[in-house]
Symmetry: C2
Subunit: 316 residues, 2 copies
């Protein structure tokens, strides 16, 4: 797309933090975000897109800062009433959040595309960055565990990441058509940086990269591609990344993340805590930048965003 | 159904008051209620059944006594969020109320019947009377107006009953299969009374009577059939009944209501305010009972329920 200088590739909470930093640092129309759809699922007859929604709420200022997901100022009347009716209550849906799921589900059933609906909702909520679902087709992350395969949200929310992970499958990724806007952006001369956000590589980034056409476009992209480590000091900044790595027999470290992306990235951002890993990552033929990667305040987010963007640009 | 001694035929608010009286007066499993489905509609991708829901909330003690519809203790976070997304807000859905619509819509899409879902919800909410949707097929009330035909909720809620009514059409009534339980009850020897509740004849009762099989079953029913006037002293107890009558060129009076039901009913209940109408109603070959018909307290409801049931039984 004309004017987009930065494409972020992001999952939910962790990625959304850096996306907010980028949206604040860059002129907003310069930022596009390829969003994970592997978490999306059907629940109570509604299509729920947790990562798109976290990005939407974060970038519109509606997000709940405490939880990192959902909306601020929520009420829970729906869930209480649903419980009274004997409904499924393992996935919490706030009353305000529900508006997004109901409106989107209705529009999807009426034949609109997920990308079209997302663009419209972003516009309604005053978001100037473009949130681009990785595909308008379905890609569904299946978590393979020692007790059998689980739909992502069953693993993640219902079973609270308790089962032991043995692998992942991205159902539909082989045949899903990549969002055309993402492909356009990746080949546009205005693009100066592609940033893989500090999201969970297995369940946030890989479902996107599992689409062969998208992975190929990333490889061919003239702009530098960098990644920001979601593992700092051997611990995951958020969620089950470390636990998954361990169960898969990998070392819980930023190096493992860099290794997964090595055929795609030109640069990798490490927290200064992980200085000792720099030589082995450089040995992967990947440039490195050491910069604080734990984002607490908005200032942290903007600083990391600026550092990441400038680092990427410096690699071109 | 074995054990049902009273079948009420009811719409929403007005009918639900008498239904609550009957459920309190009778041993609960003795009461069944044939509920209007002509108000049902699809909104935001959800199937909404206003009359069934009003009956459900009223009989479970969850209803909002102030409005007469919806649940007590509601929040409105969903509607506010929906407005922010540019969604349709003309039909108010409380956060708790939404649970019923979402759960039911999901189950309908999964192939369950409206009657099965309604029975299950009643059971979950501790309702012992049987709420029986008039049909599991669709019947949709269309209000014919001087500005064209309108779906019932568009006329009723969106346009606030402003258009001038010229007639009604009950789409699907000709072919809808009547709820089998209602037909069973109407021919069961245990049945002692059929009570047409003080609901709007045009939009609450006629959509039910418009099903030829149901009307025939009512005519053949061995138990007495009575009706309670929704018009008292020339005014509607609730809603647009009087306005509709006027626009259709009829006198706004209990006599007009009795006239509409004359080929079905054995008896008609009038408020003492309308004593002067008694002779002309009796002239329709219909027995009459004068008893207070305005239900404010629960006591009013139970008293009218008792009077109605005993009056009907006395006609057998």
């Amino acid at each position: 797309m004309r004017g987009v200088t930065c494409l972020a590739i992001s999952g939910g909470v962790g990625g959304a933090k850096l996306a907010l930093g980028l949206a604040t640092y860059l002129e907003p129309p310069e930022l596009a975000i390829a969003a994970n759809i592997g978490d999306d699922f059907e629940h109570l007859g509604l299509t729920i897109c947790p990562d798109i929604d976290t990005l939407t709420y974060t970038l519109s200022g509606l997000s709940n800062e405490q939880t990192g997901w959902g909306r601020a100022g929520e009420t829970a009347t729906f869930m209480r009433a649903l419980e009274g009716l004997g409904g499924e209550t393992w996935f919490h849906l706030g009353d305000g959040d529900l508006a997004l799921h109901v409106a989107r589900s209705q529009r999807l059933r009426a034949g609109e595309t997920l990308s079209g609906i997302t663009a419209d909702i972003c516009q309604k909520l005053g978001i100037k960055a473009r949130i681009l679902p990785a595909s308008d087709d379905e890609v569904r992350t299946i978590v393979q565990t020692t007790t059998g395969p689980l739909a992502l949200q069953h693993y993640f929310v219902r079973d609270q990441c308790a089962p032991t992970v043995t692998g992942f499958h991205y159902e539909g990724a082989d045949t899903a058509r990549v969002n055309g806007e993402i492909l356009e952006i990746l080949s546009a001369p205005s693009l100066r940086a592609v940033i893989i956000c500090p999201s969970n590589p297995y369940i946030s980034i890989d479902p996107i990269l599992a689409m062969p056409e998208l992975k190929q476009a990333l490889k061919e992209c003239p702009a530098p591609v960098i990644a920001v480590s979601p593992i700092v000091g051997g611990e995951a900044l958020k969620g089950p990344t470390a636990k998954m790595m361990q169960e898969l027999g990998a070392t819980v470290s930023a190096e493992t993340v860099a290794g997964r992306y090595r055929d795609l990235i030109d640069g990798f951002i490490l927290d200064p805590t992980d200085t000792s890993l720099e030589p082995s990552i450089r040995a992967m033929d990947t440039q490195t930048l050491l910069t604080p990667s734990v984002m607490r305040s908005l200032d942290d987010k903007v600083k990391l965003a600026q550092a990441a963007f400038e680092f990427a640009v410096s690699l071109s």
